[in-house]
Amino acid sequence: MDAIFLQILNGLDKGGAYALIALGLTLVFGTLGVVNFAHGALFMMGSFCAVTLNRIFNISFERVSETEVDFLGNPLKEKIPYLQQWFGADVSNFLLEWSVPMSILLAIVVMGIVGVIMERGLIKHFYKRPHADQILVTFGLAIILQELVRHYFGANPIPQSAPDAFAGAANVGAWIGLGDNVIYPWWRLIYFVFSALVIFGVFAFLQFTTFGMVVRAGMQDRETVGLLGINIQRRFTIVFGLAAAVAGVAGAMYTPVLPPDYHMGMDFLVLSFVVVVVGGMGSLSGAVLAGFLLGILQSFASMNEVKSILPGIDQIIIYLVAVIILLTLPRGLMGRKGVMED
């Protein structure tokens, strides 16, 4: 019982993360009709926003230590963060500890700008081009972005820790009357709530604002909206910026779960495509649904009991589900007719 409950919880948690990671991708699909292979790279850059903020808080000057020596036996050059020098160790440590949540702000700004530049400078020339061209150009961009990140941050994963208040696991079992074995990491719970908030926010934005209405109309029929004299172009730029920012915050908040490295974008690219396609191209609610479906199924497929019956099922479950869904529901769970079918 506990095991099942934990697996469901884990599935929901994964599902939330999948949905959040795929959200920006489906947004860009749905509105702009662009296959963005750089989406994973945006996610990766978002997580490096967290690393960068941490590094910024850590900018230090060197002081030659009188007592300690380094590994070569020379006097140790101690690194003292300026923040510590200026505001004292308390403030400095507090900022460092909370750098991941704070990096959300940095990620929104930086990734929003990156998104807008990307759309203005590159993507907008590719609206009318074949999908294959879009794939190639965004893939090229993704490689460039990740190589640049590697150049400055190296190839090794860089650990980012959650604030101490959220370290360790919450005793979920105690809240709902299950055993002590039902625990779940605080940070994952927070990530889940965060995903829900962001997804809900994007929904609300598209559903209840005039801006959103125009964009949704553009999703249905770009030509007509254009004919109405609405500057759909500018709105699309903003949508792309929004998608990039969402990918960015998803990445920044994910760093305590998965120490970021330059290649993580590519690792998530295929996954987010599968989520988007299973959900149905361009459908936001489909992506959320697909995220949860895949998360829960993956979680259950990984249980020993299941694996002993079907060896290796956990390795292929995501793809298997994708195949089954696409063969039974031609356009994924909630896809619209005619989108991305040519």
Binding site: V35, L122, H125, R129, H131, A132, D133, I135, L136, V137, F139, G140, L141, A142, I143, I144, Q146, E147, L148, H151, M266, V270, F273, V274, V277, M281, P311, G312, Q315, I316, Y319, L320, A322, V323, L326, L327, P330, R331, G332, M340, E341, D342
Partner: protein, 392 residues
Amino acid sequence: MLSTFTRNDWLLLIGFAIIILVLPWALQPIGAAYPDLLQKIAIFGIFAIGFNILFGLTGYLSFGHAAFIGIGSYVSVWSFKLLTMNVLPAVILSVGMAAVFAFLIGYVSLRRSGIYFSILTLAFAQMSYNLAYSVLTPITNGETGLQVRAIRDSAAVSLRDGDVRLIDQAMGIQEIGVPITNFFGMKMSGYPGFYFCAVLLIICFFIAMCITKSNFGMMLKAIKSNQNRLNYTGIHTRPYLISAFVISGMYAGLAGSLLAVTDPIAGAERMQWTASGEVVLMTILGGAGTLVGPVLGAGLIKYAEQKVSSWNEGILHQAFSGLPDGLQNFFVEFFSFFVGEGWHLTLGFLFMVIVIFLPGGLMEGARRIASIFRKQRTDKADEANAVGQPAE
């Protein structure tokens, strides 16, 4: 069929064949004339030509063609292990097996179109990869890859670790250590291996040419152009698509088999989605839908992977040794960003530049240059006429 080849078609075929066959000399100036790279260019050329029959003609973008490379490789290595080191059965069995798998995967995947088709093929390839890497280890030898071994001493040794080679044994062929693949006695490593691949590449090129110019090829192009209309014209498009998918799967199977022929090992990572992505990039880079483009793209990417990645700082210093020190350091610094371990960056830039400025790939670039020359020539001819006229 042959009677309908125009003079230009023959010129193209002969020119292509000559260029491929003289590559060992032609590529010397850029340091690419060594067997392995030449083999890889020929093999991936075949892969890309085959991929182009599906993608270039019908517009269906498969993200799972690497699966057939993997299947071809595994079947070939098993043929070496169980039957004979002669490559002929290996090649035939690989292509056949790839056709069977391509039919199964194609039959299912082609029920959908567009990105849905792409994701279905991707899913099949990823499943093959994941299973080959782990659960199917008894057949694939997992991460280590399936290799040719010496003849096993007893039946207790698993077939992965010891071979039987029934045909070779029956024919009483002596082996010392781990034998090398052969084509009726001709060793398939080094340059003979390259020429074996090169001849197959030329044959494959010829077949692709025939297909492109055939009724069948025209139907495939019509599918890319307007599949819906084709249905209303009385054409059932699915059999055409499945045929194209199977043909290109067979090309991939052949490529996979040749990888094993020239280097008898088969690893799971050949089936990973990035490998499928690579052939997409080769095709688009060279020019999708053209005959020569995919081969060109394959050559370029393999060259970058093999050679550009090897230009470390030492080599750069040599290259710029003629320059004064400060300038030399600057150039080395600058270029080391793009070569050696930075070769991915060069590839990324290349993709972007090509797609932005030459949407038809390198072949479009060649066409544009050719048309500039043609224009100049006609201009000159006009001038000559203009000059010549008063004299008359």
